[in-house]
Structure formats: C-alpha cells, structure tokens
Subunit: 222 residues, 2 copies
C-alpha cells in the first residue's frame, strides 16, 4: 500500500456516483483515472470533466489499466457487474486498498432490503480478492446528486474494513470531498450501510424527500 | 387492532430499554403494563417507576397477562429470548400490532454485524406469529440511556413494517416519546436498522462517543 495516496482509479467512473467522486476528488487535487469497460467511454468522461474544469489532472482508461496505474482503486459499478468487474481488474489491485461502493440493490424492488448471499457485497468482494487487497466499504448512503452539486452535503459516510489503518486512509478521502467519515467497524458491518440505502429510498418515497441521508449524532465523552 | 391505542404492554419492561419506554410513554399519558417472566419482577419494575412518579398508570404482570390485556405490545427482550418469549405470549397478540425492538446482537462481538438466519429478527418474529399479528420494527438505534434521562434525544427511529397504517400508529408512539419516526419501508428493511446497532457500537468505541445515534437528513421536495 502506498503510504500517501496521490492517484485514485474510479472504476465505473462514467456513472453518476463515480462521476461525482471524480469531480470532487480531482478538484481536491488528486490525480484521477476514470475507468470504464472501454477506453473510449473512460476518455469521454474525462473530457467532459476537463471541459468544465480544464486544470484538473483527469484521464480516461480501461478499467484494468486505471486500476493498475493508481495508488488506490474505487469500485462504483452496479451490483450486477461488481464481481465480474473485479475479476477483470484483480491483477492490478495487489497490495492496494479497494474502496467498494457497491450497493446490492436488486431491481425492481430497490426500496426493499434484499441481502446478498454473504449479507454484504463488500464481504463478497473481499472473498474474491483475497487478503492481498484491503477492501474498505464506504459511500453507500451518499446520493450521487449531492456529489454533482457544489453545496454542503448533509450525509455522513460509514467506513467499514478489517484494518484500522486502511479505514483511516479512506476517512481522509471522505473528508477531502467535504463529508464526515466514521470508523464503523469490520467489513461485515458493510451489511448495515448497504442495506440502509434501501431504507433511504423508502424514506424518499414515503416522505417526499430528495436524497435523504444519514448523520451520526452523539457527544464525545467528557 | 384497536383504532386508538390507550394501553401498551412492554415485554421485557424490566430491562433498560423497556424500562425507558415505560417511563416515557406512561408520562405521555398511556396506560403501561410492564411484562416480565415473573409477576413479582413486573410488579417491582412498576413500583420503582411509581415511586418516582406516583400519578402514572403503570402496573406489573407476567408477560402473557400483559400482552393479553393491552391494545398494543412491545417486545424488548434480548435476542436470545426473542422467539421463546413470543411463543409464550402468542395467544395474547391476535389482531394486534407487535413492536419488535429486538436487535440480533451475538455476544461477545456485539460491535460486529452477525445477521440472523432470515437477515432480520423482526422477520423471524413475523414468520413465527403469522399474518394475524402485524409486526412493526422500531427503536433499535436508540440508546436506553437516552430514554432514562429527560433531555432532548438526538436519534431518529426507523419504522419498518408491511402495512402503512400500522407503521403510522407506531410513528405516533415514537413521537409521543419525543423522537422523530420515519416510514422506512417493509419489514425486510428492519435488517438495516438491526444491523446499524452494531455499527453504532463500533462508532462509540472508535470515536469515544456515548450513545451515538442516527439522524435522517434531507429536504422535502419543493
């Protein structure tokens, strides 16, 4: 693992959430490698961001190329493509942190929790990748719309992973996009954050809210 | 189901969370039946509350007696006793709402999500009780300490259940104790709220917080 993260690959960086993270992190000074299934789509997403902010360090790639070149890799593809994408890029992840943003939504009932086989998509990713990759789960509850806009985002990020040092690096990246990150326990706890997304979708529907999020409350012990 | 809830049985009402709910609801004007495995323990818990607030309508009972007499029943026993307690009181629940507060914590690793067989303790309760009882899941993320004290509680309550009308009644009871309740979707979504408790325990530990809770953020659509 690189001591200092300077470059971040965003696999699925052409989507709403990945694109939002690319936008925020590149503006925070990171080198961003937008990965896609084809080089052309990755380059088009990079070009769109550069058209708006010409000074950013953003390039487009195929997923494996992006993963191999970057210090840290973020996965933001739909659940249906999670494991197949990881198979494609596995050789580029060795020794790195993978931030898995996958939410195991199963259409059409995306407002209903439908737990995956292992209870958590992030746990499935860790099992596929093995101990050589440190999977950290984060960002499941942040509406993509919030990362596209430039207003204050009122949504905390639950950061789960089996190693504290890896969670700490991810929390720094969370703070770099203006959000608050929390040490939320081992990777098994990603089940809670992943399932919470269906709860937030239900709350949006029933209460007429656009982009409900969660905020952790509580006072530090005196 | 009673159109208007006037009396509430709290099974496990001698514990911290059940005792806190008894304290808050009785002071809000509800008749409270504190249930326990023995009549003596139920009566002792009622007597303790009455010693502090003599004018309340609080009585102590065996669990089945409490469940049978009340308009609505709340289950606040440890996970290990959830299904056995429900077997004991099942005949008293017919046609009623059961608020299941069970959190499937498995000691000693209570800060790690360990999903139960069906993903959710509340779903297990509904399967045991059948369609004649409306199980609604709530209050998993509220620290008992907050209900014992009389300060403003900064923690929202996710209310899940398969019928909107039943959720609505429970949300009114949530509001009666000074909390904000949310329609959080079908009972399957209780998995998220139940698992979140282990996340909050992890956050308490890692961040030195006493009683972390969750608050839903988001603005109503204009």
């Amino acid at each position: 693992m690189a001591d200092k993260i300077e470059s971040i690959a965003i696999l699925g960086g052409t989507g709403d959430l990945g694109g939002g993270l690319a936008r925020q992190w590149s503006r925070a000074g990171f080198k961003i490698l937008i990965g896609s299934r084809t080089l052309e789509k990755g380059q088009a997403a990079a070009a769109a961001l550069l058209a708006e902010f010409p000074d950013l360090n953003v390039t487009g790639h195929e997923n494996l190329d992006a993963a191999t070149q970057a210090d840290l890799v973020v996965l933001t593809v739909p659940f249906a493509h999670q494991l197949s994408t990881l198979e494609t890029v596995k050789q580029g992840l060795s020794g790195k942190i993978l931030i898995d943003v996958t939410v195991p939504l199963v259409p059409p009932k995306v407002g209903t929790v439908q737990l995956p086989e292992k209870g958590s998509a992030a746990v499935m990713a860790q099992e596929l990748l093995g101990a050589d990759v440190q999977v950290v789960s984060a960002f499941q509850n942040v509406g993509a719309v919030h990362l596209q806009e430039d207003h204050k985002i009122e949504c905390d990020v639950l950061v789960t992973g089996n190693k504290r040092a890896a969670r700490e690096i991810v929390i720094e990246l969370v703070e770099a996009v203006g959000l608050r990150g929390w040490h939320a326990g081992p990777l098994a706890n990603a089940a809670a954050a992943e399932a919470m997304t269906s709860v937030l979708i239900s709350i949006n529907r029933h209460h007429g809210i656009d982009g409900a999020g969660i905020v952790i409350s509580g006072e530090a012990k005196g």
